[in-house]
Amino acid sequence: MKFAVLVFPGSNCDIDCYKAVQETLGEPVDYVWHTATDLSDYDCIIVPGGFSYGDYLRCGAISQFAPVMNEVAKAAEQGKYVLGICNGFQILTEAGLLPGALRRNESIKFRCHDTTLKVVNYKTPFTKDYAEGEEIVIPIAHGEGNYYCDEETLASLKANNQIVFTYTDNPNGSVADIAGISNERGNVVGMMPHPERAVNTLLGSEDGKRMFSSILKTWRDTHGTASVR
């Protein structure tokens, strides 16, 4: 299984994502620059955190038009796995691959600490190694992680089981305590917390590890033994 970690000018969690894949899965992973126009080699695309294009105008607003984002949309359409973390989540909402938007934290503070998440949907390709309702510890680091969607969108998120994670102690004011959501099909997930910063007990938690192992497991399940290297 091959992973791509996108790199925008201003990405700063790309190295963490790269290492999380390399060290927890040992699968091939490449950095892919934002001007790339071909992602056909990759099975999973990670849109990392950071401050793409300096967060000018709005977080993720400019990145949505980076050439690579057309390829991300194609990959999502093809059913490949796309994971947006923090700024990556903001980019995916701006690009219209996920519903809603991220606003300034209600407290106006940049929040950087561990949070406890509840795994609401353990059936996505990204959460299969968790149990339903399981509580996991994953850090956040954001100033604009306050998820917003209107009531109609929220109702459809609930009806389609698209809420993947919620906070047990909402740190930013997000609607319905939402920490992460998926698209309807479940192959695109965006979340504000950083699972790549929770892959080793040395980092304080290894609860993020199972997101990466879930992706690999799902990929192996759907690609059969022929793809086992």
């Binding site: 809603g100 606003r103 407290s107 106006i108 306050n146 917003y148 004011g173």
Partner: protein, 81 residues
């Protein structure tokens, strides 16, 4: 040549934490009469055209596509020669 100004504000139905904080700051320095305060963006553009109608259409497209996130923001614009 036309000059355009675009104003982008957080929708009335959406909380504007920055506005709330600044309102609180005004209250704390004695401006109790401030009932509400919202912070937005002001964008100036110069357009290489004299066709106001066409410019208006293009501006609307710019706002919808990039300048405003219509999930959470409203926008309006003014055009002058």
């Amino acid at each position: 040549m036309l000059k355009a100004t675009v104003y982008v504000t957080i929708k009335k139905s959406v909380l504007d934490p920055q506005g709330v904080a600044v309102q609180g700051a005004l209250h704390s320095v004695g401006f109790q009469e401030v009932e509400s305060l919202r912070i937005g963006k002001y964008i100036e553009l110069t357009l290489d055209t004299n066709d106001r109608e066409e410019a208006g259409k293009r501006l609307k497209a710019m706002c919808e596509k990039l300048l405003a996130n219509t999930v959470i923001e409203d926008y309006r614009y003014e055009l002058e020669a």
